[in-house]
Symmetry: C2
Subunit: 251 residues, 2 copies
Amino acid sequence: MSEATPKAPTACVLIIGNEILSGRTQDINLNYMAKSLAGRGVRLMEARVIPDIADTIVATVNEVRAKYDYIFTTGGIGPTHDDITAECIARAFGVKLILNDEIYQMMAKRYPPGGLNEARLRMAHTPEGASLVPNPIQGPPGFRMENVIVMAGVPRIMQGMFDAIVHQLNGGPPIQSRTVNCPLPEGLIAKGLGEIQARYPELDVGSYPTFGRGTPETNLVLRGTDSGKLAVAVGEVVALVRSRGGNPTEL
Amino acid sequence: MSEATPKAPTACVLIIGNEILSGRTQDINLNYMAKSLAGRGVRLMEARVIPDIADTIVATVNEVRAKYDYIFTTGGIGPTHDDITAECIARAFGVKLILNDEIYQMMAKRYPPGGLNEARLRMAHTPEGASLVPNPIQGPPGFRMENVIVMAGVPRIMQGMFDAIVHQLNGGPPIQSRTVNCPLPEGLIAKGLGEIQARYPELDVGSYPTFGRGTPETNLVLRGTDSGKLAVAVGEVVALVRSRGGNPTEL
């Protein structure tokens, strides 16, 4: 893989939750963020799924926040004993977890008298110095601590939070993607494709086998920020497929 | 989270592929493996999605193979330039990538004369010392190098390979799971639930908000290897929900 844009900001997603690792839940948050970040010109370099274990969360957050420009976490910000993300982020940054007055006021309005119990009040706590990430869907907001953006795990809520903050990121030129379907197995075009990748190191040329119509086909995906270069490289891919006897179609 | 079985073997999944990080592809392999590993009594402790960058793959494999009992990788074992998993595993183990005669013979039978070109021959290479992971679906096998099990990325093929090897793992007692639906928001039962988790540290008690019927509900998931303890704890969860005015149902 080449660097589509050497200076594009980078990102890492941390999916915090035993429910993903146990197989109970199929994660769909990563894919949502991945697509959106590409459009924003942010390179998603890594994603990790980690369990609800405080030491693991703290160590992982500290490792990746030093390595990437943006960290997006999902999960673990509710009222129950397994919701430990906020306290772990505070620990990772070496700050206190404090009652956030803005969240407290929101929640005090929402719940009937007596409803704002001790468990729910946990959701009004953020690390000292955090700013809020709006929650346009339901429940308390997420928060941002330096380059770490902390969101809910429920996809509908996570997506609302993410959409509310993604435009604030320092993006790069959008990463564009073009896909050419090749009705041949990838082994027949692999050599030429590698040569095209070598000629366009600033693009990312991927080859994905598929059996959509029952016989081996290949989807060739070209990604990069320079639409002119992309167009030229797509032309070469199309010519390559034709030269091997296939009829390429752009998807 | 508590340790369901302190001595249960642990696992980590490495999803290798730009297509997941770009958002082009929704991963479904992790969930498949997660469910199966739980049934086999193997604790999936972490999953990472990493790009097709050799240094990243090598470093990540070496980090996690020292940390967990089993590593499962998906993706990057095809014939194209972006299929670099086998060479990276060889580098990680400090061994040569060699032509595997068993794979070569399989492939020689499969392709017509002249069809086994240079690109396809790449798929017949494995790290020196690797054993093969059968591929009952289509194409060349995966391989295993010590505790690292290397599989294809195409879900149908990955699943076939995984199913072919999962019974060979040294498992522990199966991790059982019981789910109680609570028709109340989790904030109403959070305190009592935390107390149940504290009383059963050998179980893993998770709380997952849901809006299935339009109002906030909670699915309470209890996991562990001791079905007797699980039954008692489920009883306490049911009583907790009733005590808060909800009618619990086991899912």
